[in-house]
Subunit: 332 residues, 2 copies
């Protein structure tokens, strides 16, 4: 790593609304979700994942996904995206095609054991499912342009990552895309369970880049163990320009919940939150990397997110503030 | 930075007892302080800063410093250290010379404005004071072997750091040491107000190393804004082998206090906590760097620290746990 290898700018996908509101124990009012999305739209963020089209029975937090999308105040400079896992979810998303930017994603897994335990199918069965998933999207005119590899940096059920497993999972996705004659423009590598460290990021991103030098790499990092921003820094050093984050670190272990069962839960795998948007924006801006985001406006939205969920969020930047107020006061 | 430049091992100075207990609003029982120090002694940590010999009027949390040192169960493998700022404090420490490892430190400041506002004197006045401080220590047979530069990476009162200011502050300390004919073996660079970023760490550590290539560099990092572990990683990449940390991130903004005044304090400079010991130990061990510390034993002590102070601590590793339980379960 030398001092010239950082990217000039990065693209951040804000997933706070989608990630955050599915994990909170209490119901969050639809108006609060919309209020947060509208506020995020004013910070300079250019992509916001606003909801998940999933079964309201399985994920009660997203029973109002349609209402949220219908109510949000669309801003032209922002791409609003959503998540879904099956044809039913896709059709719900299609009903909002005027508001949402719809793109299909092939999900693969770098761990057979995680695929089995989380998706309840083998890797081969997942490949079959993803072929069908791709075809379903293409039939509806939704382009399938992305691959996301889950457990790309290690797994609670199968242990440490290897370059072979993660590159193999990308390869599986590429084979599905090739068969379907669609061209992949982004490979997202997800540290689903918080196993990454900076050197592992360098190793795996390096191997994927070497194999597919012309395809953009995105990092979807969780700050499960406190190494998330160091991992993002390693990614920046490798020239990664796309990141998924959540404002305030929404989706992370709520401190309130943590405190209520203090004595026995420290070693349980707690819900791993994404890296906080404002921590990545601060890191990038201090390194001279353009994000397009006004960090102080974003910190106000983080404060709003805390008031909506009713507890502190993990982001340290939210507590410590940015450096711009000091620099402004000093006339720098 | 290449993949061969990480150190084989690092030395961690645990400052949790000293840093943490001076900032907590409520009184912490002397027995609890001793219990935490004794537990830390069993984790493999080799240096623990156990108290501050300061005025009990100014810092009520350390009114019992003598009692704590008298009661701790000394372990031969551990160096117990203490902090003091004047001759009175030094004499209190001397009374515990059988228990404590006593070393003098020359404190310099890379910001005139911070020196004025925090120490209530100009840089020149500080130099005069540090000359006297050094002489006082030498008269008592305490070697002065360290320099610590405060605000080495930037300052709320004077803005961004420059290499010249920080190298100049080290130089001031070196001149004091030379006059006193003592040989400095460690230069500690403190990110007192959380202004560092990874590239700034590289730049400033690199400049100090170039000027004094044979003297060990220590980083004293605060995680004020969430970049602390990324900064530590940058330090490791520069070959830094000494770090100050606190278990759990003790000393950081207590979440409880934060929540009680939620609406108006987000942008105030909150008490900046040190980077958490277990986050640095996890980072190091995942990178193959030896620390001597049993991370799972340390996490138990972090849990003890939370129960002593009565609120959650900032460390994400404390919430997310280590990876060793998974690896052990998988037989890896």
């Amino acid at each position: 790593m030398n001092t010239n290898d950082l990217p000039a700018s990065i693209q951040i996908t804000e997933e706070g609304p989608r990630e955050g509101f599915q994990i909170e124990p209490g119901p969050i009012a639809t108006t609060d979700k919309v209020r947060l999305i509208n506020a995020l739209s004013e910070t300079g963020l250019r992509t916001i994942q606003v909801c998940s089209f999933v079964s309201g029975r399985l994920v009660p937090g997203w029973v109002d996904a349609d209402d949220v999308v219908a109510a949000l105040r669309k801003r032209d400079s922002v791409d609003y995206t959503a998540l879904w896992f099956n044809a039913k979810g896709m059709h719900r998303a299609l009903a909002h095609a005027e508001t949402l930017t719809l793109t299909g994603c092939i999900h693969t897994v770098a761990s057979d054991a995680f695929c089995q335990s989380n998706l309840n199918r083998t890797l081969d069965e997942n490949t079959t499912a993803m072929r069908a998933h791709t075809a379903t999207h293409q039939e509806q005119g939704i382009e399938v342009k992305k691959i996301m590899v889950m457990a790309a940096f290690g797994c609670n059920f199968s242990g440490d990552a290897t370059v072979d497993k993660t590159v193999g999972a990308v390869d599986t996705g590429m084979a599905i895309a090739n068969e379907a004659q669609t061209s992949i423009t982004e490979i997202a590598l997800a540290d689903t369970m918080g196993w990454a460290n900076p050197r592992l990021i360098e190793r795996i991103v390096g191997a994927v880049r070497e194999r597919w030098p012309d395809i953009a790499i995105k990092l979807h990092l969780h700050d499960t163990r406190g190494l998330g921003i160091a991992n993002a820094y390693a990614g920046l050093g490798m020239g990664v320009t796309r990141f998924d984050t959540t404002v305030g670190g929404l989706g992370g272990c709520p401190f309130a919940a943590k405190q209520s069962s203090r004595t026995d839960d420290v070693y349980k795998p707690l819900p791993p939150g994404n890296i906080a948007t404002e921590e990545l924006v601060l890191l990038a801006s201090e390194l001279g990397i353009e994000t397009g985001v006004d960090i102080d406006a974003l910190l106000d939205v983080g404060k709003m997110a805390e008031s909506i969920v009713g507890h502190s969020l993990p982001s340290a930047t939210l507590r410590g503030g940015s450096l711009s107020s000091y620099r402004n006061a000093l006339g720098a």
